[in-house]
């Protein structure tokens, strides 16, 4: 359905509640609506127009419009349209009708703006804290503009333990995480187990929330943020780097030169390659199949070396600036990359053929962690998890960015919706990525890498960008601002949505299947907040507490 048709239907249905609609072109639509009608408009868009829920964003707009801002983002994947429904909230404290009952996928995002901005989602079905720790005092909201980035409120009790829900009757509680061999990052699942069957769970995460959005809005500048954005994820960092740059470019109506777009595409696909190979390895390790774990890591290694040769780093490529990229491909690099791709393709084909008929592996993955297309729609699942359930969505094709509109590739889908089909989808996507990189290397035009930018980017413009990460769609939203930095920058990583599907995926299956079910969404939490230091000369081991580390970081003594 084209954008003007959507606006028409919204106006027919809701009349004056639709205050303003902006169509900046390039598949974006911003609709300002009356806050009283927001809930029914969202239901209409989600259910009747069958849009996919992306995320919800709160923003402190008081310095500019004397109000708070709430935006619900939806995607019309068939027409390549990303749609933002915005509303201004003038009350104090700001309140907005919760849409989580109509759109279950909004559950976390609404709790997040409740925690961080103090915008109350009225009628939320589960208004428990999500991001802020339990010891954080009520009424203090770190993302508000009048709060400094390093603000720690009085009475903050760092050591307060989580308050958990009561487990259902007849169930025993099994703690899973924050430290577990198959959980590489801190997150806690409280599993309710009856015998060997999991009946439900409660999730507590955000244990190492780093406040990167706040830094971007208050300390960093436009061109410093890509480096911070890259560090959001240790595996698909380049995705956030590109997504942020694209969101700003979109807001400022800048188009990077074609060669830069091709380079972005190549690096994104290189990242997908190494990420998928890593995932197959880890998934096999989880079910105790270490041989394939080792093999995929061996096959993956040349890709890491290649990335280091291209960018100077195995993992953090430091690729984008606003309006371009920071480095180029030489002819030698292109030739060598072709060689590496050839080798990876051959070796991976052999592995995929061997695995395709492996009954033993199927026993642990077939029919495990099943998602139905309804669950995908309701919880907003994305990436290989959605595609394995037969939901044909892929931002690279649906909302083309970089050079994806100039290359050919297939979107791989599965049918089972279980761990096995996720494995097959990812295994096949490796070949598509190789195809994309080859086409890019062939078609890449000569030309500049970086656009000449105006001294100041326009202020108060909005941009959004969806990039297909290896784990699913990463979505960035930017409102441009003063002082050479964005006013609001919101990141929604793919795991944010996919994790919300976990309780439904592990319900009523065996405890032994929990780890592989969780592993199958390729989760990506955040990173460590504590470390151990060994003095080599004396052999003395010191363990620093979080508090000591923070002190040291501020004094820069390490």
């Amino acid at each position: 359905m084209p954008a003007h048709k959507i606006i028409e239907r919204l106006k027919d249905q809701f009349g004056v509640a639709i205050q303003r609609a902006d169509l900046p072109g390039n598949g974006r639509l911003f609709v300002f609506v009356d806050s009283a009608a927001l809930k029914s408009i969202c239901r209409f868009v989600f259910r009747d127009l069958d849009a996919r829920y992306v995320t919800s964003i709160g923003s402190d707009d008081r310095p500019y419009s004397d109000s708070f801002l709430v935006a619900h983002h939806f995607a019309f994947d068939r027409t390549g349209l990303l749609c933002s429904l915005l509303t201004h909230l003038t009350g104090n404290p700001p309140k907005v009708d919760s849409i989580s009952k109509e759109v279950p996928a909004a559950n976390w995002a609404e709790r997040e703006f409740r925690d961080l901005l103090g915008i109350e989602p009225v009628g939320h079905p589960y208004p428990k804290r999500l991001v802020l720790p339990d010891g954080w005092p009520e009424g203090k909201h770190p993302l508000r503009k009048d709060v400094a980035w390093n603000y720690v409120p009085e009475g903050y009790d760092e050591d307060r333990e989580f308050a958990f829900d009561e487990p259902p009757e007849g169930c025993m509680v099994i703690p899973f995480g924050p430290f577990h061999p198959t959980l590489d990052e801190p997150a806690h699942f409280r599993l309710y187990v009856e015998g060997e069957m999991v009946r439900g769970c409660e999730y507590r995460g955000f244990m190492a929330h780093r406040g990167i959005e706040k830094l971007g809005e208050s300390v960093l500048t436009y061109n410093e943020i890509p480096m911070a954005a890259e560090r959001i994820c240790g595996i698909c960092g380049c995705v956030h780097n590109v997504a942020y740059a694209q969101a700003v470019e979109q807001a400022a109506a800048i188009k990077p030169p074609p060669r830069a777009e091709y380079i972005r595409t190549i690096m994104l696909e290189l990242e997908r390659l190494h990420s998928h190979l890593l995932w197959v390895g880890l998934a096999c390790h989880i079910v105790g199949f270490d041989t394939l774990f080792m093999l995929s890591f061996r096959i993956r290694e040349p890709l890491m070396w290649m990335a280091e040769k291209i960018s100077g780093n195995r993992k953090t490529y430091a690729l984008c600036l606003i309006g371009g990229v920071r480095w180029d491909f030489t002819a030698e690099l292109k030739a060598e990359l072709q060689q590496v791709l050839l080798k990876v393709e051959q070796e991976w084909r052999a592995v995929v053929e061997a695995v395709a008929g492996d009954r033993n592996l199927q026993k642990r993955t077939l029919g495990i962690g099943v998602t139905s297309p309804e669950l995908v729609k309701n919880v907003g699942l994305i990436g290989p998890v959605a595609r394995a359930a037969g939901v044909d969505i892929d931002c690279r094709r649906d909302h083309p960015y970089a050079a994806y509109d100039r290359v050919e590739f297939k979107v791989i889908t599965g049918t089972g919706g279980d761990v096995w089909s996720r494995l097959l989808v990812r295994a096949q996507e490796v070949f598509e990525s190789i195809r994309i990189i080859r086409q890019c290397l062939e078609k890449m035009p000569e030309g500049p890498l970086q656009l000449q930018l105006p001294d100041e980017l326009p202020i108060g413009r909005m941009g959004m960008s969806s990039v297909e990460a290896p784990r699913g769609e990463a979505h960035h939203f930017v409102i441009t601002g003063e002082n050479n930095r964005p006013r609001r920058w919101r990141v929604r990583a793919p795991t944010y949505q996919n994790l919300q599907g976990i309780p439904a995926m592990i319900k009523d299956q065996q405890l032994a299947d929990m780890t592989i079910s969780l592993g199958s969404i390729d989760p990506c939490f955040s990173c460590t907040d504590r470390m151990e230091i060994v003095d080599i000369r004396s052999g003395k081991t010191t363990v620093y507490t979080q508090e000591e580390l923070r002190e040291m970081a501020r004094r820069k003594v390490l």
């Binding site: 099994i174 703690p175 577990h180 061999p181 198959t182 060997e196 096999c284 390790h285 989880i286 079910v287 105790g288 199949f289 270490d290 041989t291 774990f293 080792m294 093999l295 061996r298 033993n360 592996l361 026993k363 642990r364 065996q510 405890l511 032994a512 299947d513 929990m514 780890t515």
Partner: protein, 308 residues
């Protein structure tokens, strides 16, 4: 003490020494071969010896719910497996005949499993309790297979004596009886489960329940448990060889020991290959598999009774 008793004791001790020396080496072979299959360099063959020495020299931290029971569990486990070593033939016939018969051997093997369960209970964490639970389930369904194999042998040779049963007794009646061949097949496919390696390392499953019963062990006690696991690999191989592959004895004791160990090594290589090419089964899948095998072996037992 009669001369015969002294020979029995010396023979048993010789077995213990052989097991203690060879077990880490077999583990080393297993690791090296696994590494080669996985296109890795792999540790040196002697690494398990170093590992054990290092663990033995470490600080002994008792962190579980009930340290006395943990101590008891590990000593019980080690003692039981070493007693089993005295009873199993290595090269010559079973040395310590007058200590006990086949039934004692089976009890001692069961005791090993029970020691692991005690360890899980003593650790007292949720994960070790799950591991204990799984160990118990597999003990109940798996151990009867070995019992049936030995009883079939005993039926064929009309004796429960160790030296008679543990000498290819399953084939004793009329050339190659069907019951013996069926049990050979059953034991061959379940062998991986007896030595508790992938895909049947369910009770310890590192990536699911973090080594289950062993999770609270460290230092010397962990070394003993690791030693028991390595010894199990050798002893179950020796048992299998004694029951099902009895041929090729020369009568010369040192040479026979080497031949026997070579056969055991072939078993270890098989275990390695299976472990490197499989994913871990879930408990319910494993139990179903054991139950099927148990059904087949009961049929074989019936056939043995009627002389087939």
């Amino acid at each position: 003490m009669s001369g015969k008793a002294i020979i029995e004791i010396l023979g048993g001790l010789a077995n213990v020494v052989i097991v203690l020396i060879v077990a880490p080496f077999f583990e080393g072979v297993l690791r090296k071969l696994t590494a080669r299959i996985q296109s890795r360099q792999g540790p040196p063959l002697w690494q398990p010896y170093y590992d054990l020495l290092k663990l033995l020299g470490k600080e002994d931290i008792e962190s579980g719910e009930s340290p006395p029971m943990q101590r008891f569990a590990v000593y019980l486990s080690f003692a039981a497996i070493m007693t089993v070593a005295c009873l199993v033939p290595f090269g010559s016939h079973a040395p310590a005949n007058s200590i006990g018969d086949v039934l004692v051997l089976i009890y001692l093997l069961t005791l090993c499993g029970i020691a692991t369960m005690l360890a899980g209970l003593a650790a007292g964490s949720t994960y070790s309790l799950i591991g204990m639970n799984r160990e118990m389930m597999s003990l109940i369904t798996l151990e009867p297979l070995l019992v049936v194999a030995m009883v079939i042998g005993a039926i064929h040779v009309h004796s429960f004596r160790l030296d008679q049963v543990l000498a290819g007794s399953v084939y004793a009646a009329a050339g190659f009886p069907w019951s013996g061949l069926i049990m050979l097949g059953v034991m061959l496919v379940s062998f991986q489960a007896f030595v508790q390696r992938v895909p049947f390392d369910i009770a310890e499953a590192e990536t699911e329940i973090m080594e289950g019963p062993l999770m609270e062990y460290s230092g010397p006690k962990l070394a003993l448990f690791k030693y028991v696991q390595m010894a199990k690999l050798v002893i179950y191989s020796a048992l299998f060889v004694a029951l099902f592959i009895p041929w090729g004895h020369t009568g010369l004791y040192p040479l026979d020991v080497l031949i026997h160990l070579a056969k055991c090594l072939v078993m270890v290589l098989g275990v390695t290959w299976v472990a490197a090419t499989h994913a871990r089964y879930r408990m319910d899948q494993a139990i179903r598999f054991y139950a099927l095998l148990l059904g087949i072996s009961v049929i074989a037992l019936g056939m043995a009774v009627y002389g087939y």
